[in-house]
Amino acid sequence: MTRKQKRLSVIAGGLAFLGAATGLTFYALGQKASYFYMPADLTTASVQPGQRIRLGGLVEKGTIQRGQGATVAFSVTDTHKSVKVTYTGILPDLFREEQGVITEGTFGPDGVFVADSVLAKHDERYMPKEVADGLKAKGVWQESKSD
């Protein structure tokens, strides 16, 4: 091979590598990113059972049930609709009634959302940003008590 051909083949190899990485990245973004929904969004969005999503909202008052063992059931609401969620594990320290929460998991065939992680992030208002934005969009956001 001449020097020029060598150089071209090196460049072609590099570009092919970058192309493959780019392709993989966009494939992964399509497949592996999980979308965020509030309960009322679920009526319009088509979420398949088994599809991984994030469900956010407020923990509905009086719905927290500690069943057998470490499984907890509660409802997540955006004040328009609510969805029943089950979770096995330790709830985060900031998890409480009528506070914002994000759960990640899949819908079971019975329509109950089975979460494998529950986030109640450390924010000044105990309100995850996604949930706050969602509530504002639905017009039910109340500027909460500033301490």
């Binding site: 990245t25 999980s34 979308y35 991984r52 594990g89 940003k129």
Partner: protein, 663 residues
Amino acid sequence: MVETGHFALVLAFALSLVQTIVPLFGARLNNQRLMAVGGPVAVTGFALTALSFAALASAYASSDFSLANVWENSHSLQPMIYKITGTWGNHEGSMLLWVLILTFFGALVAAFGSNLPATLRANVLAVQGAIGAAFFLFILATSNPFIRLNPAPIEGRDLNPVLQDLGLAIHPPLLYLGYVGFSICFSFSVAALIEGRIDASWARWVRPWTLVAWMFLTGGIAMGSYWAYYELGWGGFWFWDPVENASFMPWLAGTALLHSAIVMEKRSALKIWTLLLAILTFSLSLLGTFLVRSGVLTSVHAFATDPTRGVFILCILTLFIGGSLALFALRASRLTAGGLFHPISREGALVLNNLFLTTATATVLVGTLYPLALEALTGDKISVGAPFFDLTFGPLMLPLLAIVPFGPLLAWKRGDVIAASQRLMAAFALALGAVLVTGLFVDGASVFAALGIGLAVWLVAGALTDLAVKSGVGSVAPSVMFRRFAGLPRSVFGTALAHLGLGLTLLGIVATLSFGTEKILTMRAGETVELSGHTLRFVGLYPTQGPNYSEDRGRFELIGVSGSPVGEISSAKRFFPVRQTTTTESGIKTLGLSQLYISLGDENKDGSVVVRLWWKPLVTLIWGGGLVMMAGAAMSLMDRRLRVGAPSRRRKQASTAAPVALP
């Protein structure tokens, strides 16, 4: 004292403007006296920033709640250590720490840069001054920690309980030393572009700074990971959280820079690329600062969300990244391209390393920014987490790790893969053995787990092979061998240690993810549970009182083979009344290199408690490997050849030491 600190900060801002303008014009006019202004001004600027920082720290130590910043983030009952670390446990204070470290590095260049060419030194200090000026202005305009309250409150609002931990004393300073350390590489690059000249001595100057920054960033990330591991009580060590990614991207790019700077120093090749990488690495540090400090992301790190701050940092970001890249586009063609080399050579291996590392950086960047971009453009909210990075970052890292042991064994200019492979036969056999042993004899080992363990063993054995080959194991008499080993350049040890550390970290990650076990159950006092061969008894819940919190401490006993307790672990739920916040203190027992990890949940009505237990085999290696990598960087820094002006002993050393690989 407080007003003195405030005044010092304003003065430091003014001096940073002087530091930007005067040496820059001095270099342009080739005026020695103007250029000489840079050094003393940089040192004075650092002294003033240190004074300002000390003023804030002393206000924290003495609980001066007349300062709004202290009132918001401290409490008189806090232990002294958290009062002091609270200085940077908030937005304003952490930005002050940021500029303190920035001016510290500037002062170091001024102090140790006497043998730099005068114009280069002046330009470097000017660029450093410009970065400082931007951030001083940011602090004074939007994040001033010295705002007074009148009347002064009697009691403070307490530091965020999650931050009341020793980790706050170590993680942010280390991380900032890393982040900001790359500013020196950036300043050197921009200075080279301003001058339109770059040579191998430039690389000899930049490499130690890259090593220093990289060493601290490695430590900062490892420490942050361990802190999140024990503090959050989730048992995970890495969450691919955008804030973590923000520190990981400069690390990846910095690692690439570290390697390409070697090529530039030794072979005068890859000049333009190295320059670009230095700019990109610090740009990613700035991006990280923006992501964490602007409130774009919600996390423990986003202390307060004030839109003007975000816009301000975005302006700084655009100015410096855009400006330096524009300068690069204008001037890069003037720089002479470097030497040529064969694809199969040390240089070739390092280019491959750079290709993989920069591509990996790009995937992390996409995964971090894509959700933000998508939300801004379409309003859709998505989260990109571990599944995405497993699929993109993983496949890029695996081949890179597999070729790491070859790199140091290839000669410069034209390498011999077959000879290198022969030397690596023993390491390969060990790795293969590890794969077989793991796959056949360890219960529940998947193919991936076996291959992962094999890859880690391959890295460790490869690093040791490098040292063995270079000291002539098997080819010379033992006495010669020991002399050669002792005479190896420190940078060879540095490389071997860093690669070894990487292998150890990988071993820890694979072992923890593949063979770790976990149980969630409810326990009553007196009950026992078994986990991976360890028996634990729940003794009970004991309420205790801390200085600024109350806690329910769950005590557990580790039961030995004989049936009697051999150790105790306790995990607690802490309640901080001032902030009305509960935190979980995980209980960790280190057994060898592995750990038992207990996280206490809520108490049920019947008095039983939800408990989550993990067995994490070899987990400590994840961070131990990071320490070994830091040791490698420190070792390289001690290499005489990295010290400009100490060349005389180097020839003698190199010729007796390593005839195999060093030209």
